[in-house]
């Protein structure tokens, strides 16, 4: 960033952006130059300040210091309306769409002109058809949002931004909810946008995507920009090192598995939710001692329900679960407490809404699920000192920071919360450990450690069920992979035969040719 001349070819420039929240220095003297018509990646761990920076650009926060230049002009952006006026558009991680409105209505919402809705709708339809044609962004304009798959919903968000005249498009973790195929499609769209002169700012923590699509990358760490590199001149390893500030091993070292007896199995397991929708349809699966079974799938295809039924939180509608010599069916009572007593550990997918209680202290969250064990309780009163010591011990072993058992759970970073939850479940020495999204929102340094501990569990002869939307993670850790679609198991692949393409097809309920033969061979048995 030695070049400080005003540059007409820059779509967006940040000069010395600074933002504090109380004691937290979220953005520290951030400089950034994004040339027109490029895809610029911003990468960094959770809490590195990416979101704060984007929110400043989009007018949700105001910077304490520094300037934002759009197209070479200093812009004051106190709110998102000004950002839109300056030609900045944003596609949020969680879509901001009205489910029961049509695509057209969603695009127009907030950008109506005139008192009569019909007039704006007619105008918008024409304009959208032009945009869709220009950028290959085909979306059925009269479909309501809830009829559309996630990939198309995202396209609606992009259209919304373009309709408002966005020249700079910010995408915040856009691929989190997409299948690999949908991701590819998104990338094609982004390329065509770029070729038409739109500038794209892509925020992500996925190194692979950065390398696949961006022209330049900026890396953030602890509120600072620690590097700007050309994508063509860098590597995963270099970026990871920049993000974390030290060398990181990205591959998980592991031996081949030696599966033993079946520890947990299901037979025709079916779960119907309160709306009457079958979220699990006759699922058969087995978890053996000494193996990691990965469950892949686009989120919302029954993985969460599978975990919760197995954990005793939801009751099956039909079929049964066998855990050792115990059975859980629709007729037997089941609860999280009972399943825990059967030596099944459960790290839930959503740690904030299930794994811990946000306004409990860390030590209270550290005994969630085991709060009734005699070691934490006298006859009447709880043994507060023993609980503190227990939490302290877990924190030492798993390097949870800050090491303060009295601190409110919500004040720990995602990675440290997750370590505390996994620590709690692993410490119970379960026979089967179910673990959902073990590294969602967790920084790279902690991911490395969590992965190592999961493999350690396997090597100690435990059965591990791993549910994750990160295919990289599934591929790196699993010995067998099952793929779920619409509440059913589409198929199973041995880890050494699996790759992203195969899993991606199965996630969209297509059986790849190379598996079909294996299937018929299986049926012949």
């Amino acid at each position: 960033m030695s070049d400080s001349r005003p540059n007409q070819a820059l779509a967006l420039e940040l000069r010395g952006i600074d933002k504090r929240f109380g004691d937290v220095h979220a953005n520290n003297n951030i400089n950034l130059q994004v040339p027109k018509g490029t895809v610029h990646g911003i990468i960094g761990e959770n809490g590195a300040g990416k979101s704060t920076l984007m929110n400043i650009i989009y007018g949700f926060y105001e910077a304490d210091q520094g300037d934002i230049l759009v197209g070479g002009q200093i812009c004051h952006i106190p709110n998102s309306r000004e950002a839109i006026a300056a030609g900045i558009g944003m596609v949020h991680q969680h879509f901001m769409l009205v489910d029961n409105f049509t695509v057209l209505e969603n695009v127009v919402l907030g950008a109506e002109d005139g008192a009569m809705l019909n007039v704006s709708l007619r105008k918008a339809r024409k304009e959208l058809q032009r945009l869709a044609h220009e950028y290959q962004l085909d979306v059925p304009l009269d479909a309501t949002i809830d009829e559309l798959p996630v990939g198309l919903q995202q396209r609606v968000e992009i259209l919304k931004a373009l309709y408002r005249g966005a020249k700079v498009l910010i995408l915040d973790e856009p691929t989190g909810v997409l299948t690999p195929q949908e991701t590819d499609h998104l990338f094609r769209i982004l390329h065509s946008l770029r070729d038409q002169g739109v500038t794209i700012l892509l925020i992500t923590h996925k190194l692979r995507e950065i390398l696949a699509i961006t022209d330049n990358v900026s890396v953030m760490r602890q509120g600072q920009m620690v590097g700007h590199v050309k994508t063509s001149e860098t590597s995963k390893e270099e970026l990871a090192e920049l993000m974390v500030g030290r060398k990181v091993r990205l591959k998980v070292e592991k031996q081949d598995a030696t599966p033993g007896e079946v520890l947990l199995s299901t037979e025709k397991l079916t779960y119907t939710d309160s709306r009457g929708v079958d979220m699990l349809k006759a699922v058969d699966l087995e978890i053996r001692a000494g193996e990691v079974v990965g469950v892949a799938g686009v989120s919302g295809n029954g993985q969460s329900e599978l975990m919760e039924v197995l954990a005793g939180i939801l009751e099956p509608t039909k079929g049964e679960v066998k855990i050792g010599s115990n059975r859980i069916t629709a007729d037997t009572p089941s609860s999280a407490k009972l399943v825990r007593e059967m030596k099944v550990g459960h790290v839930p997918e959503d740690r904030l809404s299930m794994g811990l209680v946000k306004n409990f202290s860390a030590e209270e969250s550290a005994i969630l699920g085991i709060q009734e064990q005699p070691r934490f309780n006298g006859q009447w009163l709880s043994k507060r000192k023993d609980i503190t010591e227990y939490c302290q011990g877990l924190m030492e072993e798993w390097d949870v920071r800050p090491r303060n058992p009295k601190l409110r759970s919500s004040l720990f970073s995602g990675g440290n919360q997750q370590k505390l939850i996994i620590a709690r479940e692993v410490d119970q020495d379960p026979d089967v450990l179910m673990i959902g999204q073990p590294t969602r929102g967790v920084d790279i340094g902690a991911i490395e450690y969590i992965h190592k501990r999961i493999i350690d569990m396997r090597d100690q002869g435990k059965g591990v069920l791993l549910v994750s939307v990160e295919l990289d993670e599934i591929l790196a850790l699993s010995d067998r992979i099952i793929v779920m679609f619409d509440g059913q198991i589409v198929g199973e692949v041995a880890a050494d035969k699996a790759n992203e393409r195969i899993l991606g097809m199965m996630m969209a309920n297509v059986i790849p040719d190379e598996l079909k033969q294996a299937d018929t061979a299986g049926e012949a048995l």
């Binding site: 504090r20 109380g22 794994g355 811990l356 209680v357 699920g369 009734e372 009447w380 009163l381 709880s382």
Partner: protein
């Protein structure tokens, strides 16, 4: 309960005091509007509530009621349940206490009547909370709606019982017979008399100590037992509680039973302590005021103690005020109480943002000074 960036002393002490000050400031305007000097009125209220022994006695006697009903609301709230039915539960609880006093009073000694009356009050109050609790837990009817409806049912039921069953023949008003003397709770002036301390006659009685014990027990239960852990987990995050092996339905019922029992203890003070007979409408709004007490006390027993004291002062001081001034009706005093509820309860978050801003500005400038000094 708070997710702001302020230190505890501001949240617990400064904010409630600011809210209270604001409420009193607006009350002052109301007094000015009816040509009463607000400073004189304030002085009279304080002196009436705390200035002499009988006043103190009345203040603590009212506070006793508020501690019971405040705790009832608070414990339900810590499990995420809004029990609006303290009024009805206290009413039916008082009926239980009164019935025991009427039935056992003539034949049994005090040391039997007292525990049985206490337990009966708690059981009747709990019973009155049971049906709404069950409906909430297993049938999904919202406890706010059902407990409100049960207040009305309790009121009608009591009218029927008082007029048709409990009223002795020849009695003109809707009251029961007066209990035998061995079914009277010892009054505070008697208790203190045993220790040689002179205290003027007031309605303050033994149940004040029951209320203090209830405060301590609820505090222990919530923060020092596994059951309290479960209750607070359920209140903060029901999903996590279920994950933690807690049965939310069963616990909902149990917590409502405890809540109803606490409200039911009000009868010890009002029925067995003060009036020594069952009177129509003896709860007279204490159950509803308990909601405000719990809100202002932030659901914590220490807070509830002080909030109860505050409302005791407002009640007693307010009574003195309406005696003294011809143009101040009982309703005027209720306006003051309502303003306190409004500012401390409903608008309690109003001042959080500005105070947070000021606090952050102050700490930031201090941090800057420290930085420049270091440099």
């Amino acid at each position: 309960m708070n997710n702001n960036k302020l230190p505890a002393w501001i949240n617990v002490l400064l904010l409630p005091l600011l809210n209270l000050a604001l409420a009193l400031a607006v009350s002052a305007l109301v007094f000015i509007a009816v040509d009463v000097n607000p400073l004189d009125a304030a002085q009279l209220m304080i002196e009436g509530a705390l200035g002499y022994q009988e006043g103190v006695g009345y203040t603590l006697y009212y506070a006793t009621n508020f501690i019971f009903t405040g705790l009832a609301v608070a414990i339900a709230f810590s499990a995420g349940l809004f029990n609006i039915g303290g009024e009805g539960q206290a009413y039916i609880g008082g009926l239980g206490t009164g019935l025991v006093c009427l039935l056992l009073g003539p034949s049994m000694p005090f040391w039997i009547v007292f525990p049985v009356a206490l337990l009966a009050g708690m059981a009747f109050g709990a019973l009155w909370a049971l049906i709404p609790a069950y409906l909430q837990a297993y049938r999904g009817s919202h406890v706010v709606i059902t407990t409100i409806m049960f207040n009305f049912i309790a009121a009608s039921l009591m009218v029927y019982l008082m007029v048709n069953v409990l009223k002795p023949e020849g009695e003109m008003s809707a009251v029961s017979a007066v209990f035998e003397s061995n079914a009277h709770l010892p009054m505070m002036h008697d208790i203190l008399g045993w220790f040689g301390i002179d205290f003027v006659r007031s309605p303050l009685n033994l149940s004040f100590f029951l209320a203090l014990a209830a405060l301590v027990l609820v505090w222990l239960l919530l923060w020092h037992t596994r059951w309290g852990y479960a209750i607070r987990a359920l209140g903060s995050n029901p999903t996590a509680a279920t994950y933690g092996g807690i049965n939310p339905k069963r616990l909902t019922v149990i917590v409502m039973l405890i809540s109803g029992a606490l409200a039911g203890m009000l009868g010890m003070n009002e029925v067995m302590g003060y009036s020594q007979q069952i009177r129509l409408g003896f709860v007279s709004g204490y159950g509803f005021t308990g909601i405000a007490v719990a809100l202002i006390g932030r659901g914590h027993p220490i807070g509830i103690f002080f909030a109860s004291l505050l409302f005791g002062i407002l009640f007693q001081g307010g009574n003195e005020l309406s005696f003294e001034y011809a143009n101040i009706e009982r309703e005027m005093v209720e306006v003051v109480q309502s303003l306190v509820v409004l500012f401390s309860g409903a608008l309690s978050l109003m001042l959080v943002k500005p105070v947070e801003k000021i606090y952050l500005a102050l700490t930031a400038s201090r941090a800057n000074q420290a930085n420049t000094q270091e440099a």
